[in-house]
Amino acid sequence: MNIPDWVQPVAEYVFRTGLVNTLKISALALVGSTVIGIVLGTLLTIRFLPGQALIRLYIEVWRGLPILVTIFMIFFLLPSLSQQLRVDDPLIAAAIGLTLWGSAQVAEATRGAVASIPREQHEASAALGFGWIGRHVHVILPQAVRRLLPPIVGLLVNIIQNTTIAQVIGAPELLESSERQVERLTFEGQEHAVEIYGAVMVLFFLISFPLTRLAAYLERRLV
């Protein structure tokens, strides 16, 4: 089987630039979402904490808005409010947008997971002399993480797929980088959109499918 000449430069650019950037955005957004989400979700389980309404608002707003709108907000609205809030790198802007959305998802999941830990665990660790932070860090969260793992793997799949939305602000992730190649080839008089976008879908499938399976497996094993 002969591989046509146009394939190699396309594949090289899409892998070296696109795939690498997709993984970068995904990694930043996953870490950001998990850290912020677990903190906010844990705070939500405290009764009568002032300011909790603000955390609820944060969750409902970023879960409610389309990610496309959120990413545009970071990229276009922030600099119009103040020059110091300018995010020049579209990769970072996309990662921030995805983190706002992802952390809201993790916060909801964490609230549920922490609430599902029996009261006795709180009482026993309090009786052992742990303060609120020690109690959560050493006793409650390690148990809650078991229940959090499946939704976080599920979130990772969603984050990876949603990195494509960064295309709208020109971040050279998988979709943007392959679009550039499609356009370059069209400019040279060759049409290969079906093959290239088809290959991008296959690539996403190869990354996502094992992860969705892993999430389903963890769900069965850990919960």
Partner: protein
């Protein structure tokens, strides 16, 4: 270094652009409504096929579900709008707008309804068959009313995502809510007001639908002993 928040606010933005913004929202809701109706039908039919393990249909539905769920919807939109013309299939932006969310939502809904139907205890179905109901009648009178209720909250969640995903039609310049608002912004440069309008518009729709989930859940909750 001092942070200067140059917050400019002009209420007339909303009165002057109200018609266009509402027209954009109407297109968002139109595309969503068609997409949701289609996703409901796809979900019910393929979900039933999956739950009852109907040969061939069930396997094909499984492939459809995994293919759609494991690829980004934005790439699916690119495929429909930018790639298909290469092989002679030209769809206009409105068709892609509802078709893309319908195909996407249908896959998620197939899973929602499969899970709901499978949650109906087998003995209920056996009881229906033992009473002389045909398989179809058993499904319509037993599995669907019980399983459908179980899947309702998760399917409404999918419909909320459908509404949010119509914002992606920005890439094909279909003038739904987001595209309309950003076009207005390009002319007026009133970025703060534009995003305020966008946020309020989407949150009203999405929050209304979330409240609906809670109402429906309370209203259609199965009586305790049926579970």
């Amino acid at each position: 270094m001092t942070t200067v928040l140059a917050l400019q606010w002009d209420w007339s933005f909303f009165t002057e652009n109200a018609d266009e913004l509402l027209a954009g929202m109407r297109r968002t809701l139109e595309a969503s409504a068609i997409g949701i109706a289609g996703a409901l039908v796809i979900g019910l039919v393929l979900g039933a096929a999956r739950a009852h393990r109907i040969p061939v249909v069930s396997q094909l539905a499984g492939i459809y579900v995994e293919a759609i769920r494991n690829t980004p919807i934005l790439v699916q939109i690119f495929m429909l709008y930018f790639a298909l013309p290469q092989i002679g299939i030209r769809l206009d932006a409105f068709i892609v707008a509802w078709l893309a969310v319908m195909i996407w939502g249908g896959a998620f809904n197939t899973e929602n309804f499969r899970a709901g139907f499978e949650a109906v205890p087998v003995r209920y179905r056996e009881a229906g068959l033992a009473l002389g109901f045909s398989r179809m009648a058993t499904f319509l009178n037993v599995t669907l009313p019980i399983g459908g209720r179980i899947s309702l909250p998760s399917s409404i969640n999918t419909y909320i995502s459908i509404v949010k995903n119509t914002s992606l039609m920005y890439v094909i310049a279909y003038p739904e809510f987001t595209t309309t608002a950003l076009q207005i912004n390009a002319l007026t440069l009133q970025t703060t007001e534009t995003f305020a309008a966008l946020a309020v518009g989407y949150l009203i729709v999405v929050w209304t639908m979330s409240v609906l989930i809670r109402l429906v859940e309370a209203r259609l909750a199965l009586p305790k002993d049926t579970r």
